[in-house]
Structure formats: C-alpha cells, structure tokens
C-alpha cells in the first residue's frame, strides 16, 4: 500500500523573529521535502531554529519569505492536518484522558458517543487502557506524552510534528516511547518530522536525518538511513550505527565552530554591542 498524503515541501524558507531592534533571522533559506509516510529527524544544536521551523509548519509562526506546502496546499494557519506535539505536554488539565483525546473530534462536531468510541481506540493504540478517566496531573510524564500523541493522531494528520517530545523523559521511558512511536507510525503511516538534539534518538527513529546549522538555521547535511525495520534496541550499538553517529557528531561540531566564527562578524553582533555602537 502506498501512502499518498503528507507530502511536505519547504522551499527557500526564511523566518525572522522578534520586534524592531531585537529582530533576528532564525531560519535562512531552508529547503527540503518530506515524502508521504516518511519519518524525518531534524538534528541541530539548541537555539538553531529547529523548533521555529516546526512552529512555521504548524502554522503558529508567519514566514518572511519562501513557501511551505502540504500536499500542494500552502500553510497559512494551524490545522488539525498538522498535529503538533510539544516537549512539555499541553493537555487540558481539566479534561480526562479520554476527553483530551476526543477534543479534535469534538471540534469537528462529531457526536459524543462516536468520538468517545474513537478515543477509546486511540487509548488502546497508545497503551493507556485503564487510565481513560484520569486527569493529566495523575499520569506520569511518559503517559502524558502518549495522551498528547493520541490526541493529535485522532485527527488523522497528514504530518505529525514533534518538538523533542521525549526530551523531558528519563532514559528508560524515552526508549519505551521511541519503540511505541515507531510501532504506531508503522500502523498509521503518517509523515513525521521529529525534532531532537539527541543523535542516538534521531538515528534510531528516522528514515532520513537532516542536520541544521547554528542560527540562522540552514540544512547543512542530509543522511539517509537504510536500517531495517522494525528496528531493535541492539541497532544503537551496531558498528554501522556508531560510524554514522561519529559523522553526525563531527558535522554538529563544525556547525558550532562556524557559528563561533560568525559571532566575530559585526553584523552578527548581539544586542548589547549594538547599543555600544550607537553610543
């Protein structure tokens, strides 16, 4: 079965953040495509604009120039077609697990009984049976992220946008969640753009890893991963894996060095030095 939905195209995307004097360029002519059903991990040093890119794709940030399309439709505003998962969960604290998951369907105007039924199926998918009527505050961090993922997936998004979703979890839970995510992804076959600064995580999950430079973020490297699926934890210790990992570490290091060089450039100076110039 070939997947037809979830073709994302990012063309010459530049994006500025901040107001007036504090305005700076976060993204610089970013170009890449995500094929339908493809799992892409975006690696980069912190503050490089990875999350900004995700925000733009979600429709929460407006772009300065370039084009963003999903299945040839321009991205103008947030839409359930593009499900966004944050690092810290954004579940509604006043809604039960089931109500949180069913929220998207409620917004579509689907009748209560029907949406609860579908939400229950999602609860099963993310392995949270027995927790349907708990509030988010009663769940562990890993469980909260599972609910978050289920809440997004119930809308059958064309693409799943994940912003370091397991970054706040302990190592054990993180591994579990990675396996679970791969399982779910294999079942529902949506495109995924997964942001992380953890090289192991990126290589373990992705079909393709993109590496971003320091701010303003550009794509500086693209690595296709041919590891067989379903993937196993042993993969992480294989020689092929470590070789690619070494390469990634090197690339990220270089990205950081370039950034340090550019800091010496007067055009790239921070706020404080600029004030000095005007004095």
């Amino acid at each position: 079965m070939s997947i037809t939905q979830g073709h994302v195209r990012i063309q010459n995307l530049s994006l500025h953040l901040g107001q007036a004097k504090n305005r700076f360029q976060a993204l610089d002519r970013v170009n890449f495509e995500i094929q339908p059903g493809e799992f892409i991990c975006l690696l980069g040093p912190s503050g490089c604009g990875k999350s900004t890119l995700l925000g733009a794709l979600a429709g929460h940030l407006s772009i300065s120039s370039g084009a963003l399309t999903v299945d040839n439709e321009s991205i103008l505003e947030p839409h359930p077609d593009r499900g966004l998962v944050f690092q810290q969960h954004t579940l509604f604290p006043w809604k039960s697990v089931l109500e949180n998951i069913a929220f998207g369907l409620k917004m579509k105007g689907i009748a209560k009984q029907k949406r609860i039924e579908q939400a229950k199926r999602m609860v099963d998918l993310v392995g949270l049976k027995g927790f349907e009527h708990k509030f988010p505050a009663e769940l562990s961090g890993g469980m909260q992220q599972r609910v978050e993922i289920a809440r997004v997936l119930i809308n059958q998004p064309r693409i799943l946008l994940m912003d370091e979703p397991f970054g706040a979890l302990d190592a054990q839970t993180r591994l579990k969640m990675q396996m679970l995510l791969l399982e779910i992804w294999q079942e529902i076959q949506t495109s995924v753009l997964f942001i992380t600064h953890d090289i192991d995580e990126a290589l373990f999950l992705a079909d393709r890893v993109l590496i971003m430079s320091h701010r303003p973020g550009r794509i500086i490297e693209e690595i296709s991963l041919k590891f067989e699926r379903p993937r196993d934890v042993d993969l992480v210790t294989s020689s092929e894996f470590t070789a690619i990992k070494k390469h990634c570490i090197q690339t990220l290091k270089e990205a950081t060095q370039q950034e340090e060089l550019s800091r010496l450039n007067p055009l790239g100076l921070g706020k404080k030095s600029q004030i000095k110039e005007y004095e």
Binding site: P78, H79, R82, L84, T90, P93, W94, F103, K106
Partner: protein, 284 residues
Amino acid sequence: MSSLVQTKTKNQSTFLIRFYGQLRTYQAHFKNYVIAFTSIAFWIVIWQGLAQFKINLGIVNFSNVPTPLDVIHALWAFFQLSTAFEHVESSVFRVVVGFVLAALIGVGIGLLAGRYQKLAAFLMPPLEVLRPIPAVAWIPLAILIFPSSEASMIFITFIGALFPILLNTVHGVGAVDPRLVASAKSLGASDLAIIYEVIIPGALPNIITGLSIGMGTCWFCLVTAEMISGQHGIGYFTWESFTLQNYSNIVVGMVLIGALGMFSSSLVRVIGNRFTPWYQLRKS
C-alpha cells in the same frame, strides 16, 4: 489455602494502614480546630474582661463597649424579634442580587479584557479610575441615579463585589498557558471554542477566588448600602442600633454580618471546588 490467608492479612493490613492514615488526618484537623477555638475563646475572654471592668486606657475606652455576654443576650433577643427573619432576608436578597450581577458583568468583562488586549485598553482605564472609590462615596450618586432605594442598595453591594471578581478574572485569563491555546488551535478549535474550552476552564480557579472574595466584600458593603434607607436589613439594624444607642445590638449586627459573610464566602468556594476537581488534584 495458605495463599488465601496471606492475601486476606495483606488486605487487612492495607485497610488498617488506610484507616490509621485517615485517623491521623482527622486528628490533625481536630488539632487545628482546637487551636482555632482556643484562640477565639481567648480573645472573647479578654474582651469580656475589658468591657466588664470598663477599662479606660486613655486612647481606647471600653466603658461603653458591651460585653460578650450582653451580646449573646442581645443575639437571643434579636431572634425573638418578629422582624428578625425580615432583616436577614432583605440583606441576603440585596447581597445575592448585587453579587450575581457583579459575577455576570465582572466575569464577562474580565474574560473579554483578558483575552483581547485592545479591548482591555479600552475597557480597563475607566474601571481602574472607579476602583479606588469606596462604596460609601457612591451613596449620594446611587440615590440620585436609581429611582428606588432598593436599587441603590443593590448597586452598592454590586460595586463592592465587582472589582475583585473582574480583576481576578482578568488575571486568570492572563495566566492561561499560551501553549494550550496554540494546541487547541492546532486541534481545530475556533476562536469561540477556545474561549469556552480553554480560556474559561483555565481561568476558573482564579474566577472562583474572585467570586469568593467578591462575596465577602458584598457583605462588607452591606452596612454602607443599608445606611441609605429602608426598614429592614442587618446593616440597617446595625446602623439604627447605633443611632438608638443600643450598643449590644451593634455587635449583634456585626456578628451576623461576619457569620453570614464567612458562610457565603466558603459556600462559593466549596461549590467552586466542586467544579474544579482537577485543580484540587494539582494543589495536593
């Protein structure tokens, strides 16, 4: 068989642990009640002493202050009055009407002002100017504006409750996590849906705090309101007792207002907590 016995003892022990745990929390509560009661009793005894021996300390003079015992007698006498119920009833009516109006308008404006900054820039400045004006200062205008004295009295209690409710609502809306709003948008929520699915429940704990404080200030302003006129009401009764130099009854009025105010405030809080079980969870 042996395993069966074992599970039974295990159940029993967990039951006992829970039982003792429960008992300990009751004990803790009980201790707090004892402390609270002792504290109140202590000050009543001090008051009795000061009033009974007509202590005159120069700056403060207790010779005309009724003793707690006098007050208890007067309280008893108050409830023997044929008009006692009418006094309480008219006061409760004024407070409830003023409070409900303040709740509707305060929460309504608060939600709008908290959500839309431009609207806040338009709505809030005049309200900020009005806020420091005490209820007492409103009396002459209230009499001029409203045709009936009942309406002007309700207006005074309304003014008392409006600002705490309004400001807490604005604050509550401002405190809603913007990521929740972004998430709701991503999940397909319309602007209206964001207000009733995210903003209102998110601000609800603060709104409840505002309502509870507002209920208190309503009673606070009651004496002021009932100074205007009327034949009934606890505030009126208190004010009349002062003009008639019936000092025990002043304290009776004060005690009644205090008790009713405390009771209704905690009633608002208890009802509010019922609506926010998730928030109680987060606090513990």
